[in-house]
Symmetry: D2
Subunit: 468 residues, 4 copies
Amino acid sequence: WFSSPTRVGFTGMEEILTRVVAPLPTYETREKSPPPPESNSLDFMHFYKSLEKEDKHRFLSKLSQDFGVDHKGASELAVKLLDTQLRDLATILQVEDRLRYSLTPRYKQLLNHISRVEGGVKFLVDLRADVLEIIASKSNETPHIKDLNGTLKSLLSEWFSVGLLRLERITWHSSCEILQKISQYEAVHPIRNWTDLKRRVGPYRRCYAFTHAAMPGEPLVVLHVALTEDISDNIQSIVREFATLDVEEDVNKVNAAVFYSISSTQAGLQGVELGNYLIKRVVRELQSEFPHMARFSSLSPIPGFSSWLQALLSQCRKEGRGSDLLSEQEWKEVEKATDSTSATQTLDALRRLITSSEWLRSEKLSSVLEPLLMRLCAWYLYGEKRRGYALNPVANFHLQNGASMWRLNWLADTSPRGIANSCGLMVNYRYFLNDTSKNSSLYLQNKVVVASEQILGLVSQFQKTSKL
Amino acid sequence: WFSSPTRVGFTGMEEILTRVVAPLPTYETREKSPPPPESNSLDFMHFYKSLEKEDKHRFLSKLSQDFGVDHKGASELAVKLLDTQLRDLATILQVEDRLRYSLTPRYKQLLNHISRVEGGVKFLVDLRADVLEIIASKSNETPHIKDLNGTLKSLLSEWFSVGLLRLERITWHSSCEILQKISQYEAVHPIRNWTDLKRRVGPYRRCYAFTHAAMPGEPLVVLHVALTEDISDNIQSIVREFATLDVEEDVNKVNAAVFYSISSTQAGLQGVELGNYLIKRVVRELQSEFPHMARFSSLSPIPGFSSWLQALLSQCRKEGRGSDLLSEQEWKEVEKATDSTSATQTLDALRRLITSSEWLRSEKLSSVLEPLLMRLCAWYLYGEKRRGYALNPVANFHLQNGASMWRLNWLADTSPRGIANSCGLMVNYRYFLNDTSKNSSLYLQNKVVVASEQILGLVSQFQKTSKL
Amino acid sequence: WFSSPTRVGFTGMEEILTRVVAPLPTYETREKSPPPPESNSLDFMHFYKSLEKEDKHRFLSKLSQDFGVDHKGASELAVKLLDTQLRDLATILQVEDRLRYSLTPRYKQLLNHISRVEGGVKFLVDLRADVLEIIASKSNETPHIKDLNGTLKSLLSEWFSVGLLRLERITWHSSCEILQKISQYEAVHPIRNWTDLKRRVGPYRRCYAFTHAAMPGEPLVVLHVALTEDISDNIQSIVREFATLDVEEDVNKVNAAVFYSISSTQAGLQGVELGNYLIKRVVRELQSEFPHMARFSSLSPIPGFSSWLQALLSQCRKEGRGSDLLSEQEWKEVEKATDSTSATQTLDALRRLITSSEWLRSEKLSSVLEPLLMRLCAWYLYGEKRRGYALNPVANFHLQNGASMWRLNWLADTSPRGIANSCGLMVNYRYFLNDTSKNSSLYLQNKVVVASEQILGLVSQFQKTSKL
Amino acid sequence: WFSSPTRVGFTGMEEILTRVVAPLPTYETREKSPPPPESNSLDFMHFYKSLEKEDKHRFLSKLSQDFGVDHKGASELAVKLLDTQLRDLATILQVEDRLRYSLTPRYKQLLNHISRVEGGVKFLVDLRADVLEIIASKSNETPHIKDLNGTLKSLLSEWFSVGLLRLERITWHSSCEILQKISQYEAVHPIRNWTDLKRRVGPYRRCYAFTHAAMPGEPLVVLHVALTEDISDNIQSIVREFATLDVEEDVNKVNAAVFYSISSTQAGLQGVELGNYLIKRVVRELQSEFPHMARFSSLSPIPGFSSWLQALLSQCRKEGRGSDLLSEQEWKEVEKATDSTSATQTLDALRRLITSSEWLRSEKLSSVLEPLLMRLCAWYLYGEKRRGYALNPVANFHLQNGASMWRLNWLADTSPRGIANSCGLMVNYRYFLNDTSKNSSLYLQNKVVVASEQILGLVSQFQKTSKL
């Protein structure tokens, strides 16, 4: 084992990289190179793990800059490719293959070897998480790091190809090891205790995860499903319902599958499509268990809605256009309900109400705000875009998968967190199985969002009311 | 499902390929392309399976020719790469990435998608076996097929990377499904019946296989090991020994591990290194079970030795140089033992003896032939080369892995098959664990064969005697 | 370990029994006796296994005679019980309990202790098989052995109580260990090779076994089921059908479950009801897999029918009453078909035909014999009794379970064995689930056989024709 | 299903018992009685479960009184047995067997049938728990209930015979279902949270349980073991030690196995020896994992010591003999430390200190009390008896198993619970494997307690000091 360094100068990094990242064999001998000793991979892993965060960044920069593609070799082969354009196809194909080979970063081999040692794949997943962090933090000075990221992503995509994933149903009979992780990873609707956890994997619930042979005991993406009579319009009836905790499931009461939580657990697998495949695989699983099941839908949170709304109100206040958001009637009601006497006051009161979640405690305020919040939220989900795609990341995820924006639900998540994040609203993205493929293309290629009448109605109300 | 065609014209192939092999998305939209419907992959698989062999070949030719790399696009990017040579690195890296992308054959995506459906990976393994067959049969007219082969091999190498393989120990408690396959696949020392099979997985034996999550129940490469007191010098004491079939293993009698059979089961995984990794993994496994075990060796067949010998004798006869192979003393003894009166007669008699395995029945002949055959065989293994590497494929395999050529064994396989293929000789390739890495490099890079004194002695006798 | 004796005198037996079979503790201290060291049980087992068969018998006699109930103690407590008859119930209950305890054979404790060591339960099962063999061989001199048998049977009945058995479905994925045993134990329709075995556990077949925690890997009773459209009338279509060996089961083609083979594997569990419970458990299993399945039936062999028939014909010949069995018309046809000229000749010819199975080769003879053999066989099954219960053991088994005698089938088992044993006839015992409980009582308590119209019709024909 | 009754009169009970508890068949037909329909057992179970506690008691009384042994039949056979005393042994054996059969309570059959239905064995275990409760509550009026208890215990003893139990090692990979139960059942050193639980099954710890095929997922008796360098003298270093939670075990640091908690989970299995067998089985398991391990010991609580001590002090105060317990020197020190001026005051102060656990907070008091409490506790464990056996139930358990009383440990359990129950003292019962069998006999048969010099020394100090 490599002895644990505390602070590493460039020399130490240099030394290990030179020793461990073998030069790319020539094209001719590429199949005749024995794999390097496993200790190379282990040394690299051990060295890297021992580094402080900042040193990790320096180390990765060095690796990606000094051990990447041989640019000179690549450009020579580009010249050669142009020279052979008039030759026979066999020659062209051969030069193309050499060129392709010459575009391989030198470190790619090392990554490949690391994947073979125990714990190697997990190491690379975590390494990529670090790479992504660097890119996020200082995006404009990292062309080489981006190349490293691309190489890692393409390798991980192959290793985590769906054919290599295992669907596991998690139940109360699953190992504590995995259930504790399920509990930990649940970010959407936190799990509080044993009973809560037991509920999530008990009757009328399903919990599925993809796992991978190279990372045993580690759920990669987790999907929680509630089996219900109708598509649920609130989360309380799912995560706070313990009446059926010990019953036998009655198959006749199962008409709908509601995906109420999906969590990816590995930052390093960003961009490697897993969630989409998990949903589709689970749909097949459920269809084989419940042949007559026909309704599949998410019940999804709307993170960011409250912040967006606050920002909107601030802006309106600043620009003095507060009343633009509300109909005249609404404006009056809010004014009255908040004892405000000026537009500014009213807007301030509104913002305060939303920040403090106080409106929830007054039935009157609730009913005044309901149409307003529903309308604004529908617009937020449907109309707010980033590069043409839905700004809200959850919406973007389900729309990419081919779901349609189906129903916005009032008082759907009354937990403090739900109220704070999205004024208690939740949304169903519905999966009409015959349309998902078409919808997905429409969205990804033409940026079209398929939505239900309810949503479209709210959006059109918003457009009429707002003079924005 | 695609309805089963009986004989398919070019039109049918054209139609399905056009429909199913989607164009490569542009570089910009490559992450924004929804996966095609699974039915595409299923249609392709179904169509292909329904084809006759010859049509398969035409189909693969078509696929590889018409749906490969876009040469024009690639050459344009090559121009662009040359244009940017003086620009900043970020630009160069970006163009390199585009060029790399443009060198992706269009069909690669389809192969990726196929790997995701059930049975898809196995389909691609079998597809590659067909591709290899085409290449073997008409090697000079297949540049595109070779490209397809390269693409497949690189994908399969990723999916069958060692980190994704599962080591399974096969015992009598394993499923009949897998044990029947073990029995079927055993090509080296065929298994005759239940008892024989039980013996191979019973006490003082180990049977290991690599399996893969995407091909459940299918052993990919199988290694049989005998646990012995000394490194075995014959196969009879391993596969014909039933005395210890029902005993408890005595750990004190286990000093050596003899790898007496290794079989790869998937033609389509040719060139994807599995056997080497399996041996090394098993060594680790055995070391953890028997911490004091220090001797690891194969007991290997020598396929091709008899044919080589026959050819040699023919040639000598033709060239009238028969006696060159034997010492004077030997020549006399053979003459006498075969009642021959001329060199030609003697050589013919020798050939007949070897063809008929008759020498085995006479103790006299055996002892006359022993030094001769040992010497010739040592040379065959050590001295006969193809492009600088050992001609004998089993030798080449173990030498690549870093084993040394350790001991040639007389009367080591007295089965009819063993006598016919290699005059009953077998060889141990010994794995000195501290040297394998070094040996492997020496062999692969410098074509040096590491051998024991016994082998080198025999080789030097051969060189002295033969005036070839 | 006890050293292995070769021939043991009474002294050796005496010695070990005295040492190992502890005296029964007094009633008062019965809960305060520490278990003897495990080595006692191991010594006993080892000693017993080392004995020759004859010595085993002597040893068991000795054990049962000298280490049984303390008769004096028992009779003293019987006196005491009579003395307390007029006392209060608490006293009576206490004396009854003491009496019950005093009737415990001294060796019972040892048997209990043996059951606790590894392999102990299996040892006792085999021990009882020996005990049964002694009883069968010399029944009139073995009162103590019978007591030992009774004690063993009652212990085994507790340990092999149905609640402690595990139902295992055997498939091609089961371990080779268990499948080889399934193959070995199949006595009814022998299994010839791997494919044959694979067929018995493949599509449209089910193979179930009871196993027991204390005898891992050992199927105790095995039931083979065919899933068919209609209740099968011959065995060929089940064990010689390979067309569906690799298909997916079509649930719509499964209307009936045919139990075509049931085998008990442990002689020592005779009288411990397992087969009956296995059938009922499997019915439940099948009903849950195929909710609409309504037809359950055996397809059973008729061992002993040919022998019975031969004996009948011999007797008729001796008594000169041959023609009594056949109608006048039949007699003529047989005479003609066999070229016989006298009654004796005809009967001899008939016997020869049956012994040699020659009739099968002639369509004419077959059609002449069919009504005759059907009639006689129906009588054999329905009318021939032993102590009031069906003479045929297979019939007795299914009738005890509550099945009805449902259909006799012509040319139902055309294997040499089937023809030889039962002239190719087989019978269905049908399980009407609502009636089994009632039928079972009727049969066991009132000796009534429930049979179908077909059977009853044949029986009545027999009674009319025969003047026996 | 029997419809759920709310309050049941005697008539309802009468009705169901008469219907469900079949009469004992005659001796002659005992093997020819079909089992009653399963619904009988289910009806009984359902009916019983629906009863209120008090009705359960009445119901069990009725069952045991009206459906027990046929006293008349038994006494008739007792007469018969006496009549046959002069006849041949075969006759005597036969009458004994009949008598034995006649002593079978009628309800025994029903219990047997219940054991066969799903959940039946667990039902009977719970039923016996109820029976034991009745006996405990009103012991002098329950002769029949005691008979029922005897019958149940003997059946359960057969079903839970060690040969039928499965040893399971519980780890973090075990199912949450079983780990939650382990957590729940841990009565000795309560488990507080996930980390605490993970610690108990992590490195340097072992957790074993016996489970039974008829009660899947239910640990019957649980043993917690710490693997240590030396036999632990306090519990804190075991249950509060988290430093090694994520390390690899170093086999060289494992010299001793400390059983620090053993819990039986089923009240209904009282008197069915499980704990003793579990300890012995685990010892074998550990010896095979750590061949050189030689030290096995419990680290046991001393429940009841504080109460006993309080009672003793009260009595001394009442009898004015307080100083008898302490040496003169001690008495002075306590007086001084507690500022007492009279014997009564001193004793009161002492009692208060112990009740309030206040002494722990003063180093001075601790050191004053240490010799006193050690001495008294040694006596409590060694000298206080009930019917000749150790009064302390934990001591009695380990002494029965053949352990010796090895070491009393000061400040061994400083949890509030440990201080309150036993003034923080714990004791090691050590298992010297060669002596357990002998020790067990000595204790059970001769009531001899084997103890170490430390214990005997403390006891003799006690005897010298106390003038009791």
